[in-house]
Amino acid sequence: MTWLIWRQYRASGAITAALLAAFAAAILADGFQIASHWHSILLACAGNSVCLQQEPSPVNGVVSDLPYLSLIVPVVLGILWGAPLVAHEFETRTTDFAWAQTVTRTRWLAVKVGWLLLAGAACGGVIGALTTWWSGPTNAQLASAFDPGQFDTQGIVPIGYAVFAMALGIAAGTLARRTLPAIAVALGGFIALRLVIADLLRPHYLAAVTTYYNVTGSFGPSGQAWVLSQGAVSRTGQVVPEGWGSLYAALPASCRQLLPSGPTAGKSASLSAVFSCMQAHGWRGFVTYQPASRYWPFQGIETGIYVLLAAALIAVTFVIVNRRDA
């Protein structure tokens, strides 16, 4: 069976390997440039963190878009490898031949699905590792590895996405028994689920930490924390998000009078008077965030969710293939 898989997939395997090699070459060439640029910035700033954050990002050029393109790699794997895996066999009726051999259907499916999922996981892992390495200087400069978009391209989650997208394609192909509808379902399903989990579920994997501080001072969570929301809260518990537009309406009239009269005139002096006034009225600043130390637990939880979903889809596939009349 393994030999058969190799024969069926050697062409697409070779193309994938060539594309991966090209991606790796581009990322490595660009990454070494960025790293050396970053080291010269580090030397010039000599440990001054304000200086570091004010430096222009060492990242620019076409290659800087490649890591974001890697967001679509899982769904491409799901479309081109996952969806046709069983559906194309049904369409061309090669299942009739394959299922009439001495190899059982379960073994046929187990070997096909097993090798393909392994290949998908390997692709996701290689691309995730390259992107993580490439993003090192950006992570160090902006402490943004936990932010949506960065979190999704780095660490171990790309492996989970790749395995899930493949499993979704395989299951959709088994149910629809036609390649094109399976491709559409894999594409739509993957994007929808990724959006729902990243936007609605991920902020709540662990209860977020909220820190209150004096409005006359300031507070920022240390390291690459993921800030979910921040703003001000009044004595009565009224929450106002960041930004003067919303704050202006909520301020006590006595504080509102202290606001700077012109758009730019004497900003810092007058604003500190407004902050003192807010302080006197019992306002506090707040930051709700996921601490930097939860980065790897979150990576683990997200990967786990996708691997579990993939396992469920694979189980469905096995049930359908085994129950189907030949």
Binding site: C51, V62, V76, I79, G243, G245, S261
Partner: protein, 332 residues
Amino acid sequence: MSWVVWRQHRAQAAIAAALLAAFAALILVTGVQVASQWHSALAACSASRSCGNLSGTLFLGSHAIGFLVIMTLGVPAVLGMLLGAPLLAHEFETGTSQYAWTQTVTRRRWLVARTGWLLLAAAAVGGVVSGLVTWWSGPDNGLQADAFKPGRFDIMGIVPVGYAVFAVALGIAAGALLRRTLPAIGITLAGFIAVRLVIFSGLRAHFLAPVTTYFPLGGGFTPAGSAWQLATGFVGANGQPISIPQSTNGPVLGVGLAGLPVSSLPVPCQTAGHGYLPAIASCAQAHGIRGYVTYQPAGRYWAFQGIETGIFVLLAAALVAVTFAVITRRDA
């Protein structure tokens, strides 16, 4: 022939119409919210006279819808993969081309009807999506003045129509050449991304010669409206660029990104007036040193939209011509 095309694609058309309707509903509902949020923020900031820093403090819409709007970048590629690539490849794979080509309808007419309707549908989908996104992004363009910036330019106006037509034409041509659906889908995706990247990051900035405006030291210059800023820096008397070190702890003329470190000036200026900054600035000015901003003015937005759309439509026309040559020359 149009009847055959309708019969073949009515299921796809129904699904596409349903998805478009769902997208339109989402965009319309959230777009009205964004517009009212924008108007109340404008009212509040003009009351407190703080509209100057509104772009730094106000966030319009939600992250989810904002992300969905950015994801419309992928719509043309999806059309190319799911509608364009199978159009001819699937006929070859299932052998139905042999049946279609032995009817009274000529191959050329068969191909004209099929590609014509499909390209028209792709243009319509691209236009509707882009129209919705352009309307939704109106307040955000007003707030950030970023309609010309890479990424925003690509999802608004008429360029999405050009992208959609090109992606579908690429899918059709790839299917006609490869005669198998899956490889055609792979080529369509890779080819579309590659062409988009090359034009996006290599060509677009040079459609028209950019404008460079010089400003005196200590001052600054911001192009009006939603201009696309390409570069900024300092030049000497003969236009030679002045290299600015990555970081300096020494004194700086001007502030922020428009700041010029004193250590970058000609040696006589560095010690002028014993370090008195106005004296250093007038020395640098006497040496002809000034700042510059290179940009594409906001007035060129629609010219650029037209040029980019034209390029993609021409590429699409070339691909369709290749398809016709391949199909009419092929043995049945």
